[in-house]
């Protein structure tokens, strides 16, 4: 768990800590292991954000040591500063603290950081409190978040504390910050992190970063807190009507799978999937429909309207086919034999039957109260979905 170290971040809560070259003005935020101050450079007068971590805390957790190790890792592995990672300008040490200096985040009003009492650093957490993001912002910020995280994953590291409060805005661009829990991918998965954004398996590896990123994109998309996932709330229809938001939603659903193996393995692949989907070459799973067959049959069982709709691609030997009837609950007969599940019970519509021979078959449905619905010959080499319904009488 990310520790909340506010009570002891410095010995005396009334005194302002001293760091070389900088005057600390007031606390403006908290990271995983320390407090962040608004500060001015004594020589240049420039405004900066300075993070302080206590060197010798009473609970003997060596936060400063952990942070130093993380920063060294970051420095060693990310040679060229990435535009979506928060840049560290200087690292130093006093008798009591480790400190490092960063550019301050924009003000929440969108302007630059200032000395004004009203200044509050712009973070994604604060932005989300104001409601769902526009479609353009959702896409832009998702890309920026994933680009920053992908840079960390490319360097063989994991962040382990991806959350909206750690996404800051500088010059309007999202910067992923707070590297206090950063570690190498090869490290043993641990339970450090922020609970709300942790995957259910609790393993804080690259797939856990992906899970957290997925939840953040969910929040941007819906405006809802992570506790509501995957409820789409009042924005469901807007998401349904926008191809960009649909892409993002599919990205979220894959990133937030309970089974880590079904998630993107890292942010690099998640970012690739987003960019390819945006460019019209989707890698995020979309419904695979090779050929959809629709049949409307009158109650006497006569096939009246069979129609082939679209051909996307051809499948090899065995195929998975979806069968849907209106009403549901029909047994499926291929070549006069019912399709049975492994436990011997017949498949009933709607369902997807795996492993069917990809060749021509005779298809019919049987449903109690509706009689037989004879679809006729279908070629499962090309048909992946069959939709059929009983009609009371021909019109």
């Amino acid at each position: 768990m990310a520790t909340d170290s506010t009570a002891e971040w410095h010995g005396n809560s009334d005194s302002v800590p001293k760091v070389p070259d900088f005057d600390l003005l007031r606390p403006i935020g908290e990271g995983s292991f320390g407090k962040v101050w608004l500060a001015t450079n004594r020589t240049t007068g420039q405004l900066r954000a300075v993070k302080l971590i206590l060197l010798n805390p009473s609970d003997r957790v060596d936060r400063a040591g952990r942070e130093i190790v993380s920063l060294v890792r970051l420095e060693a592995n990310v040679r060229n500063q990435h535009p979506n990672l928060l840049g560290i300008q200087h690292v130093g040490q006093t008798a009591q603290h480790l400190f490092y200096v960063m550019n301050p985040a924009d003000d929440i009003t969108g302007g630059p950081a200032s000395l004004a009492d009203s200044y509050r650093p712009a973070t994604l957490k604060e932005r989300l409190e104001r409601g769902p993001l526009s479609q353009d912002d959702c896409l832009l910020l998702s890309r920026q978040l994933l680009a920053g995280l992908a840079c960390i994953h490319k360097a063989g590291m994991v962040h382990r504390d991806v959350k909206p409060a750690n996404c800051l805005f500088i010059d309007g661009e999202l910067k992923l910050g707070d590297f206090g829990l950063l570690t190498m991918t090869s490290a043993e998965p641990s339970l450090l992190g922020t609970r709300k954004y942790m995957p259910p398996d609790g393993h804080m590896d690259a797939r856990a970063d992906v899970f957290a990123a997925g939840l953040i994109i969910y929040e941007m998309l819906t405006g809802l807190p992570v506790e509501a996932f995957p409820h789409l709330g009042q924005r469901a229809r807007e998401i349904a009507d926008s191809s960009a938001l649909r892409i993002l939603n599919r990205l979220v659903l894959r990133a937030c799978q309970g089974d880590p193996k079904q998630r993107f393995p890292n942010a690099i692949e998640m970012l690739d999937a987003l960019m390819e989907a945006k460019a019209g070459r989707p890698r995020i799973p979309v419904p695979v429909r090779t050929l959809v067959l629709i049949a409307v049959v009158v109650s006497l069982g006569v096939l009246t309207v069979p129609a082939a709709i679209s051909l996307w691609h051809v499948q090899p030997d065995t195929v998975d086919v979806s069968f849907i009837t209106e009403p549901f609950g029909a047994a499926i007969y291929l070549d006069g034999r019912p399709l049975l599940q492994p436990d011997g019970k017949p498949y009933r519509t709607p369902c997807t039957v795996p492993g069917l021979p990809g060749q021509t078959h005779h298809l019919s449905f049987k449903r109690e109260g509706n009689g037989d619905l004879n679809v006729g010959e279908i070629d499962l080499e090309t048909v992946r979905e069959v939709t059929a319904r009983w009609s009371d009488a021909p019109k």
């Binding site: 989300l128 409190e129 104001r130 409601g131 769902p132 819906t222 405006g223 809802l224 807190p225 506790e227 509501a228 996932f229 995957p230 409820h231 789409l232 709330g233 009042q234 924005r235 469901a236 229809r237 998401i239 349904a240 649909r246 939603n249 599919r250 659903l253 894959r254 937030c256 799978q257 309970g258 995020i284 799973p285 979309v286 419904p287 695979v288 429909r289 979806s322 069968f323 849907i324 549901f328 519509t349 709607p350 369902c351 997807t352 979905e385 939709t387």
Partner: protein, 228 residues
């Protein structure tokens, strides 16, 4: 497991105050009911948020009551009285005097709570809706995210299966199967809510009263504080 069993088990679990997860479930289940009821009685979003926080605090402080009387009917009426009195108290006092005086507001609730619970048709209907949403929430946590979303989009937003498939990445057949699966589970959990066979219609109406996303975020943050 029926809705009432779920409910009484939850009450038992929050009794000693040590089960943080149970408390979180409890708050999550009831806060929208209180919020919606207060809004319908003319309170602003902000006042309704305050009332939710007060009521939840009162429930938490009186959790030992559930040890002696945890029947669903009594709890429903008791909570209704607490909420109605909290709303009435807010409406009697000027806004600026009430705000920042959590203790005063609480006292008013406690005094009123000691009296006999009073029936209220509006409260009864609101409580039923909240229980229905709570059942949906149980199913949301049980099934895969894609399955839940497919149900929500197809059954509650009436979107065509093909569009739902595009949104969720499921195959069309799987969309229908997801819808059936969630409905079946809902029927199992909430047999008492489907007497007239209009479960999804009732759910739609219940969800229509949900607050907007900004209130959701604010309230969840405030309720987390009570639990600390």
């Amino acid at each position: 497991m029926s809705g009432s069993e779920t409910h009484s088990t939850l009450l038992e679990r929050i009794r000693d105050g040590a089960d943080c997860l149970a408390w979180s479930d409890f708050a999550d289940r009831y806060w929208r009911l209180v919020f919606d009821f207060a809004r319908r009685r003319g309170c602003s979003d902000h006042t309704a948020e305050d009332i939710v926080q007060e009521v939840m605090l009162t429930v938490f402080q009186h959790r030992e009551v559930f040890q002696h009387d945890r029947s669903r009917g009594r709890f429903r009426a008791w909570l209704g009285t607490v909420v109605r009195n909290a709303v009435a108290e807010r409406r009697r006092q000027p806004q600026d005097r009430i705000r920042g005086h959590g203790g005063d507001g609480q006292d008013a609730i406690l005094v009123a709570e000691a009296g006999e619970p009073q029936p209220d048709a509006e409260w009864e209907a609101a409580f039923d809706k909240a229980m229905l949403v709570a059942l949906l929430d149980i199913v949301r946590r049980e099934v895969a995210p894609r399955t839940y979303q497919a149900f929500e989009l197809a059954a509650l937003h009436d979107l065509p299966g093909r569009r739902v498939a595009e949104i969720t990445g499921l195959r069309l057949g799987a969309v229908y199967a997801a819808r059936l699966r969630v409905l079946r589970r809902l029927r199992e959990l909430g047999a008492q809510y489907r007497k007239n066979g209009q479960l999804t219609e009732q759910l739609k109406q219940a969800l229509a009263g949900w607050p907007d996303p900004a209130v959701e975020r604010a309230m969840i943050a405030r309720l987390t504080v009570i639990n600390r």
